[in-house]
């Protein structure tokens, strides 16, 4: 089989249940999902539809209750907490709605943090971090702390931190949720460019159809399931 045809991420009948007994809550009820390498996917759906849980599982922050998660064709069913952490540091990048930068820490230090955990030498770290900051258009802002940067700039530092490890997949959880339209567009332009020019697969959760429009594929969640495409069209008419 040609390796390019193996989907980078695949969920097979994944369920996730929180709590026990009467408090039991089914966040995912059997999700099948295939994301091809180089794809730009937008994930939409109302609150409580299971999209965040799905993102956590895709990001190896959480494990499915039942079902199987295959990353580049390999089942991750039995990975330990530390093994998942190592997978995250080599293949995955995260961008959050709230930026989640370390405050009182310079942009450069924030960006090089994943490289420290990976054990790269200081010179390599500085060079890569500077390159990543240049990619998001923040050359010259290396020594500013998050408090001295605007929201848009902070999110760009967060993107730089996510891509500094040259991950295969970038997982973005409402990356424009705290930004105004102009800043949102800047961030989306960067994500689009990373997807096209660097070939990074992007999975992005968003509430805004405008942002979802940047993606080539949109997946809708409802009640812990992926909504089939024909039903979406039906919904859009309603």
């Amino acid at each position: 089989m040609d390796t390019t045809c193996v989907p980078i991420m695949e969920l097979r009948q994944v369920t996730k249940t929180f709590g026990r007994g009467t408090a039991e809550m089914h966040a995912l009820r059997g999700v099948d999902l295939v994301i091809q390498s180089g794809e730009f996917v937008a994930v939409m759906g109302p609150s409580g539809s299971g999209k965040s849980t799905c993102m956590n599982i895709l990001g190896c922050l959480d494990t499915p209750t039942t079902g199987n998660y295959l990353f580049q064709g390999v089942s991750l069913g039995s990975l330990s907490r530390d093994q998942r952490a190592i997978l995250r540091r080599h293949y995955l990048g995260f961008v959050f709605q709230g930026f989640n930068l370390l405050n009182r820490t310079t942009a450069l230090e924030n960006v090089e943090l994943p490289l420290i955990y990976r054990g790269d030498a200081a010179e390599v770290r500085h060079q890569r971090a500077q390159e990543a900051l240049a990619t998001v258009g923040l050359s010259g802002w290396e020594h500013h702390t998050p408090g001295e940067l605007s929201g848009g700039q902070q999110q760009r530092v967060a993107i730089a931190r996510a891509i500094v490890t040259q991950p295969a997949v970038l997982l973005a959880d409402e990356p424009t949720g705290n930004l105004d339209t102009a800043r949102s567009q800047e961030v989306m332009d960067i994500l689009t460019r990373l997807n096209r020019e660097h070939g990074i697969t992007i999975v992005m959760v968003t509430h805004e159809p405008d942002m979802a429009a940047y993606a080539r594929l949109t997946i809708h969640f409802r009640d812990g399931l992926v909504v089939p495409e024909h039903e979406i069209k039906h919904e859009g008419g309603a």
Partner: protein, 401 residues
């Protein structure tokens, strides 16, 4: 991995100066307290040892009476001058044998008066105590034989009666008799028991017996043993001779005491050492409390830093890397606190030593122990919060507000 943890820990400490300062405050105080206590205690011990050495560690004191406790000698005949003569003649190890009789009295000069200890003795008193006059002279043999009304005084008496005047040749009054001051003794300072050794007037024993006491009694014999000779053996010899002279039967309890200054030295130094250990222990408790302080602040800081830990875990930090970072942070903070404590303690004990009039004795081992202990405290008390941080669920931690 360790260097990475150290790098991350140092960044964290630098980023939160106030929090770091509060964390180490307890350790700083604990370490400083331990070192100050032990240093001052060591100084006090040394001072006691020095004072006793200045008294003469080869000094034996023979007092009459059964020992009923310190200073309580009850129901026995006093000594006589002949006892002193016999001791000096029969025991070759003795350098000097000074018979002594004392009484507390007021001395008057002009319109100044001062209550002090008047001791009748011989020149052997000065020899036994290794004490020379700083000006004037001691008694002559004829003065001693005749019981001349002359005296040698200590520095305190001179200061109280004469101020800064020269006392030599002046005549002071002791009750009904008037004495010429022949000599002024060198200052000896405080004794180990805290009494002023310079507060005394010495007159010839014969003058004391005839004109003050009105009897031939000798209350005490002070004996100094030759440096090369064994004090213990000299003590046994004295006991044997005195028993013979006082006609005591084999099985009869002795009605006199021979005290060795070495024994007193040992007793006093062990007392100060016990006190030092006690104070050090109290201070060690404060060091422990400092460690608990570190644990408290670290626990609070784990909660406060939940989000930060979530970020670290999400971008791929391993559980043990977070654990190590927190542990290193605690160890670096507490050993830094230890260092600050050491500097503070050395400054404080130097200051206190001069205020309390105790010599400053630098004790390198307690400084090393306190430092090692402070680092250990950091590790031990940092472990629990570090474990808590490392076990956090990244999803929960990231959602934490």
């Amino acid at each position: 991995m360790f260097w990475n943890a150290l790098l991350l820990a140092m960044r964290e400490i630098r980023r939160n100066v106030l929090r770091s300062f509060l964390t180490i405050l307890g350790i700083v105080i604990g370490v400083a307290a331990v070192i100050v206590m032990v240093t001052l205690g060591g100084g006090a011990t040394m001072q006691v040892t020095q004072q006793i050495a200045s008294l003469g560690s080869n000094l034996l004191m023979i007092t009459s009476g059964k020992r009923m406790g310190p200073g309580q000698n009850v129901g026995a005949a006093p000594f006589s001058v002949n006892d002193a003569v016999a001791l000096a003649r029969d025991i070759p190890q003795l350098v000097a044998v000074a018979p002594m009789a004392s009484r507390s009295m007021t001395v008057v000069y002009g319109n100044a008066n001062w209550s002090t200890q008047i001791t009748g003795s011989t020149n052997d008193f000065f020899k036994a105590r290794n004490w020379a006059p700083s000006s004037g002279r001691l008694f002559t043999d004829s003065e001693l034989r005749a019981g001349a009304t002359a005296c040698v005084i200590g520095q305190t008496v001179r200061q109280k009666l004469f101020g800064n005047q020269d006392p030599i040749g002046a005549r002071i009054r002791l009750q009904k008799i008037t004495c010429e001051v022949l000599g002024l003794l060198e200052p000896k300072g405080q004794s180990a028991m805290g009494s002023d050794q310079d507060d005394l007037v010495i007159i010839p024993l014969r003058a004391f017996q005839r004109r003050i006491a009105g009897n031939q009694d000798v209350n005490m014999l002070q004996v100094s043993v030759r440096e090369s000779a064994s004090t213990t053996r000299a003590q046994a010899e004295i006991e044997r001779l005195m028993r013979e002279r006082r006609h005591l039967a084999e099985n009869e309890e002795a009605d006199f005491n021979v005290m060795d200054m070495k024994e007193i030295t040992k007793m006093l130094t062990s007392t100060t050492q016990v006190l030092t250990a006690l104070l050090g222990a109290v201070a060690a408790v404060s060091l422990l409390v400092g460690g608990i302080g570190i644990m408290n602040i670290m626990l609070v800081s784990v909660t406060e830093r939940t989000r930060e830990i979530g970020i670290r875990l999400a971008i791929g930090a391993l559980e043990r890397e977070v654990l190590l970072q927190f542990l290193v942070e605690a160890a670096v903070l507490s050993s830094f606190g230890g260092m600050v404590g050491i500097v503070l303690a050395l400054a404080a004990s130097m200051g206190l030593a001069s205020v309390l009039n105790v010599p400053f004795v630098f004790n390198a081992s307690i400084v090393a122990i306190a430092f090692a202990f402070s680092a250990l405290v950091g590790l031990v008390f940092g472990y629990f919060p570090a474990k808590k941080a490392a076990r956090l669920d990244p999803i929960e931690a990231l959602r934490y507000e």
